[in-house]
Symmetry: C2
Subunit: 227 residues, 2 copies
């Protein structure tokens, strides 16, 4: 445990072969895939938009954003809660950093808007606890690899914005795992408020029903446009 490096994955997968380019710069209007169980990081200049599509409707996307000039500044769910006074961001809302600067604005959402901000990214230890005897792909490692492959390092694994993840919050504070309510082809769009690396992980969770009752992880798609 001494000299633990948060940027290093516990294991590797096809994320290392799935980058959009060597430095994360995308081709504008090109349609990209986040392969099932994998992660991809993409650079967004100020004003550019990122649209993430859920082809199956049931696939959760663990989503992060980092200030491209200083990755110690990152989208922070606890700061988002404080800023919005809500655990459910909606169209028009800013998504702020740990320094309370807007990184992204949620500009469009064709899904019912059910996304989670309370739950941690799955990681190697999570699957051990769930009884998986071997290494299991996980969103934390997908984030780390997606950044490594474009020459960046995650200084930590922040709490993600879990797109299409359905975690109802009861008045007594209890949470539940529920299947996504989104439909095939629904999409969500973010506008960059500063240069950022946005990172998407097609959540490989197939033990709990996070990705629908069938538990079959699938791919996501995304496209970057000029604002």
């Amino acid at each position: 445990m001494q000299n633990f490096d948060p940027s290093q994955p516990d294991g590797f997968n096809q994320t290392m072969d799935s980058s959009v380019s060597a430095d994360g710069l995308p081709i504008i209007a090109e349609r990209y895939t986040v392969p099932a169980r994998s992660g991809v990081a993409v650079y967004l200049a100020t004003g550019q938009t990122l649209t993430i599509t859920n082809p199956t409707g049931w696939q959760v996307c663990d989503f992060w954003a980092f200030n491209a000039a200083e990755l110690h500044e990152y989208m922070s769910m606890s700061h988002v809660h404080t800023d919005l006074l809500s655990v459910f961001p909606k169209v028009g809302d800013s998504l702020v950093s740990n320094l309370r600067n807007p990184l992204l604005t949620l500009t469009q959402d064709s899904s019912p808007g059910v996304h989670d901000t309370t739950i941690a990214a799955c990681d190697a230890n999570r699957y051990k606890q769930l009884g998986v005897p071997h290494y299991h792909e996980n969103c934390a490692d997908n984030l780390r690899q997606a950044l490594l492959v474009i020459g960046q390092k995650a200084p930590l694994v922040p709490a993600p914005f879990n797109l299409w993840m359905n975690v109802p919050v009861a008045p007594d504070g209890s949470l539940a795992w529920a299947a996504p309510v989104s439909k095939p082809g629904e999409a969500i769009t973010f506008k960059a408020e500063m240069p950022v690396y946005a990172v998407m992980s097609a959540c490989p969770q197939d033990v709990t029903p996070v990705n629908g009752d069938e538990g079959q992880p699938s791919a996501l798609e995304f496209v970057v446009h000029e604002g």
Copy 2:
């Protein structure tokens, strides 16, 4: 912003003079004070208990714990949510780290048990946004200073466990600032499940009603016992 160091405070206060000792080791059964608007870090060996008392009843304590051997492992609210399937930890619950290891167990709570796990620590930027024209003491800087003064560095400012902070969560996900419901002298106790640095900040928030409608930050008290 380049080479931002999360361990360095934006300003200093009496936290730099409030440590229990040079290395954070407490005298067992000694009653210590966290002065109003300040922070204190204390080392807990496995099995030792930390009891934090709220003399006024209205004072919020921003609370963190770090693996004493590796501060990149820290109590993580998003992992606590996943582990407990709740945003409100209760007596008997483990408080896990970002590596999903139990750091502390919440063993006793004489207050009504209303604590928050969704809101970020206040910081210099928060008070700027609230219109305070000068530097304002804040929980993020109290954490950083409390660790610096015992020779440790915060690798980040994790989302805190906000003891006695009353942030109701509505079914639509909206949050509210409400006054603490605790009474003078109520206390909460944690048992260390591994050697940790526990850090308490007597929240200096006097702009929003987090510390009661009077908004008068007050001191906290704590004591460490052998288990």
